[in-house]
Every structure is written in structure tokens, then in C-alpha cells.
């Protein structure tokens, strides 16, 4: 399954996350393998600042 398909399946807006495998980013067209472990990290922060 590709990264974008995974995000779609999880109903996650691709604009609101980055996907990390190991110590680097995984772009949306990458084909994930069954053994891959990825972090889907949210990027939205809020509050005052």
C-alpha cells in the first residue's frame, strides 16, 4: 500500500501530517512493505503563541 492510500484509508488529511520511517520522511507515493513501521505525526499546533 502506498503512503497516500494509507492516509486515505485512515481518513487523515495529508496536509495535516508528516509520515516518518526510521529517521526520515516518507513521501506519499512510496510503497510501504508489510514489515515497515511508520510514524504518522500530526503537524497542527494551536493556542496563542
Amino acid at each position: 500500500m502506498r503512503v497516500h492510500a494509507l492516509l486515505d484509508r485512515l481518513d487523515i488529511n495529508r496536509e495535516s501530517v508528516i509520515v516518518i520511517r526510521g529517521d526520515t520522511l516518507v513521501p506519499g507515493d512510496v510503497l510501504l512493505l508489510d514489515a515497515d513501521v511508520v510514524e504518522i505525526r500530526p503537524v497542527i499546533s494551536g493556542g496563542c503563541r
Binding site: 496536509e15 508528516i18 494551536g46 493556542g47 496563542c48
Partner: protein
Amino acid sequence: MKCRVCKGAAVIDVRRHNANFCAEHFIAHCHEQVRRTIDHFSMMQPDDRVLVAVSGGKDSLALWDILLSLGYRADGLYLGLGIGDYSTESTHYSRDFADRVKGRLVEIDLLADEGFDIPTGARLARRAPCSACGLSKRHLFNRAALEGGYDVVCTGHNLDDEAAVLLGNVLRWNVEYLGRQHPVLDARPGFVRKVKPLVRLAEREMAAYCVLRGIDYQVEECPMAAGNRHIGYKEALDGIEAGSPGTKAAFFHEFLDKASHLFTPESDVVREGLLACASCGSPTTGEVCAFCRLVERATASSSNMSVPVQLGETRS
């Protein structure tokens, strides 16, 4: 996906630019976007003393990193808010980054220096936590910059932050705030210049920048901000952006180009009537400035004891 610059393997797509980048050229892209922003808005000069408001989050640490990479004399300023474990962690990330870049980190602790923390102070002053936090940051960043002889304060507000604020101001037609919403607030008596060099870069890009630069940052959302209106506006804009890349940037930057000036007179009326705060001397529209009123209320009660922070949903 291929990098737009070198045709090597890309690690990120930036859909509003219809471009993909490898790590090296994405980092260069971010540096270039900030350089262009600083130049376009005449934000600062190469020899300015720069104070970066640092929270331990991705935007402020990335901003500090980029400004140092561009050659600016930039120190960090961290404000301890007293929000339980969240603040403990944010202190850790800020200090770690400062150590890594051998940068100077100025620290202010709200409880030790002003007598209250955000959870307790906001409750006693009957203000929303984000409101008390924002007010404290604006006042204390400005004061620290003036006392430290800095020329400019930089904050890590990114494109998503500014678009969300603009949406909120437009939905309520808050013309005074619309007149003030600009990447540069010029210095005036009692106010240091304040700039937002990240307004061409989206939140997702700043997170990606930190990962690619190996910058550890606080991912968890502030527990007191969970579910606030600002985040709701961001989510709404992300929904639009997903179907129409570039809308967010057009919304904010076209506002600056085509409409911002229409609201400036409304804002100027307020600015022209400023007096000196009877308590601290800062410019204010009333006898006592809003921050001193907050301090008075937040520290007045004998029951001013720290309250446990209620942890809401986080995004870990």
C-alpha cells in the same frame, strides 16, 4: 517522486508549489523562503540583534535554526508558563537546541518572575488560558527585547497560523485586528519591532524541516489549547487546501496585497491614543496595561496555589 531541483529521490511534496524536494533541496527551499520574506517585508538588517521567541515546538526551533543558518545574530527567548509536564518538556527541548547550536537562550519563568502560572493565573483572572498566555507572551517578549537591547523580536507564526487568524478575524469582521495582522509590526515608543519570517512556510513544512535537520521538538499539543477555536479554523482550512492546493497561501498573501491596507485606519485610531501604564510604563489604552491587570488579578488571591493541569486529548 523526483526532486524538482536535482531529480534525485524526493522526500516531501509541496502541493501548492506543485513541487517535490529531496532533503538537501527542501532545506534550501525553506531557507530561501525565509530570506525572501525578510527581504520583501524589510523585516531586519544583517547586523540587527535578533531575539527569537522559542517554545520548544517545531516552528520556533526551525526559525531559530534558519536565522542562524542565514547568518543572523539570533538569541532565543523562552518563557516558562508553568503548564505541568508540558512546560517541563518544552524547557528541555528549548535548552537542548540552544546547547546544540551553542546559542544564547534567555529564560523567563512566569511563576518565579511574575508570581503566577498560566493554569492558576487564568483561572483567578477569569480569562481563557490561551488569552492569558498570549497576553503574557506579547508583554514579556517585548519587555525582554527592550531590556536586552535587541532590535527585533521574531516569532514562529507560520502560514497556517496566519491564515487561521485571518479566517477568525474575517468570520467576525474584527476590523481592528485585521488592521494589525501583518508580518511586521514596526517599532514605536515602548514597542520593539516584531516580525514573522515564517509566513511563506506551512506548518507541515516546518515539521518536515525539523525532521530533516534532526531537530528534536515537542510534538505534543499544549493541553490547555486542545479543542480551541484556532485549531478548528486550521482544520477547516486544511480541508479546503486538500482539495485546492494553494488556497491557504492565496487567502493570506492576497489579503496582505489587496485588502490589509483597507483596515489600517481602524487600527491606527487605537494606536494613536496610547498612554503609559501607571504600573509598568508600557504603552496602553487605559490607565493600567492589560498585562499588569492580569498580574494583579492572578496574584491577588491568597488561594493562589498551583492547580493541577487537566490533560486533554493530545496528538501523540
